[in-house]
Symmetry: C2
Subunit: 311 residues, 2 copies
């Protein structure tokens, strides 16, 4: 008599992205020109290429121009400077990693702040880490959030993990969230964002586990990070309300058997970090997030244009 | 620099009741008459009297007639039979306990099913326990839910504990909920309702702890109850997402110190089962629910009238 059917649901990124598309289309329609994004692919990465193709298609569908420039990585610096100075280019993105070392960070910071659709500029990061929402003192120009962490936040809002009845800044109060990835581009800023909203975040990478919380020093508007030396990840997993993974390896699989029933699961890696058995455990499972990330990219571009108008 | 301000919020029943009032007023306006509820107070209970006054005021505000009959408990049986047969009376409620023994159950079942605004009839309970929504085979007449458990469910929906992204019947999947009270009128049916929606419910009374879950036998549409002998309640409390209390004693206080940060707290007792320190722990705290219960009472009355129209 008993049936094994998932009690939870798998939610596709496209379902969530669609909610933003309409808003984006309306905003673009109000502009007197078609905004243009240039994407630089200098690493021959098939995942980057696929992501570029999606971005191109979404741009077309929503009323943007998108140009993909495939080039030798040695030419990237020069081309970025040209794009910074080209008034026809409104947004710039680079498919990282390119060199896979500090040179990548240099290239990121080389992108003009006004065209940085991915929100990678240090000023934007500083604002994120300190919970600052504007880039000017008059508070007219909104800061840009890095688009992948922003996509995860929007997904958590959609899934009802953010509780809208709680006050802004406390909407994740009491939630325990694991983030398996501590890259500077996604994992660390994401952990900070979630901690700033009241969650206890277990930030996991290959070396150690760190705990991000909002901390007590509200004057600093900065989350608090402590190391959890000797902490067994397997003991944390069954206590998590949300598990978010971004491990860029086809061999890595998260241990589904330790996940408690009803946990919210999000994978932002282009690899499948969960086997399908997670569906029998997860409350809500979002197997990939790319389409929401692209929507956030276009949302950021519109915000950059708004900020420019206020100059 | 650090401030101790509650991260959570206290939510008043009036805020939630208001959402239903408008709907109720609109429905009443569509009727060709003013529906009448008679309340029987046969126990001189000041809490019952207060609740009766609230009901009376709410009835007036929302377009109902309300008559309170204070009487000797020995006359209650006769008066209930009269009210059952009086076409001018649309809803009947009794402020229990009256005798405090099996006679009360007899009196409950004596109330005509068609006028049982509190949803105390055994048929309604049977439907609740078996997750049956209608009282007729053609599925045109909706079953009535007992108004206090229903009020708690509506409050949990408002608070976002029910996740609307999940499928109907699974919206509490993975949630751990403690209900301190196992009365036949509130605690037990509430535990069953929550288990039927996918939660694991720890039903606590003075004698023991029982665990209610949906169970595996979906063909029976009935929750599964097991005893948890020797289970220490103090070990369960920090794992609960929601704690609901209904202990009718001024001396009882729930141990706030064991509650984890962010827990949803609801007290349905007319006594204060929590000290104010719970506000520093709770995510959302609903200190009393009476006004929502009254709204559910009127909603039930409108449903009874709809069912009558379908005869």
């Amino acid at each position: 008599m008993s049936k094994v059917l998932p009690a939870g649901r798998t939610i596709l990124a496209s379902t969530i992205a669609k909610l933003y598309s309409e808003e984006i289309v309306q905003q673009v329609a109000r502009l007197s020109f078609k905004p243009k994004i240039v994407g630089f692919l200098a690493n021959n990465d098939p995942a980057g290429k696929m992501y570029a193709n999606w971005t191109s298609k979404t741009c077309q569908d929503l009323g943007f121009n998108y140009e993909l420039k495939e080039l030798d990585r040695e030419d990237l610096e020069t081309e970025l400077i040209k794009a910074n100075n080209n008034d026809d280019v409104n947004g710039i993105m680079v498919y990282f990693p390119v060199f896979g070392d500090k040179q990548d960070q240099y290239l990121q910071q080389l992108i003009s702040m006004d065209k940085d659709v991915e929100g990678l500029n240090f000023l934007y990061y500083k604002n994120l880490y300190h919970n600052v929402r504007f880039i000017d003192e008059a508070q007219t120009k909104k800061s840009i959030l890095p688009c992948t962490p922003l996509a995860v936040v929007k997904i958590l809002e959609y899934l009802g993990v953010y509780n809208k009845i709680l006050r802004y800044g406390n909407r994740l109060y009491g939630k325990k969230i694991m983030v398996v990835n501590r890259s500077e581009i996604v994992g660390r800023p994401l952990a900070a964002l979630l901690a700033n909203d009241g969650a206890t975040v277990y930030s996991v990478d290959i070396n150690n586990i760190q705990q991000f919380t909002r901390g007590d020093d509200l004057s600093d508007h900065k989350h608090k990070v402590i190391e959890l030396p000797g902490q067994d990840i397997n003991e944390l997993i069954p206590n998590c309300d949300v598990i978010i993974t971004g491990v860029p390896s086809p061999n890595y699989k998260f241990p589904s058997e330790l996940v408690k029933f009803g946990t919210t699961i999000i994978n932002f890696s282009s690899e499948k970090n969960f086997n399908d058995d997670i569906k029998l455990k997860a409350g809500l499972y979002v197997p990939s997030i790319g389409k929401v990330t692209i929507a956030m990219l276009l949302r950021n571009l519109l915000r950059l244009l708004e900020n420019k108008n206020k100059n």
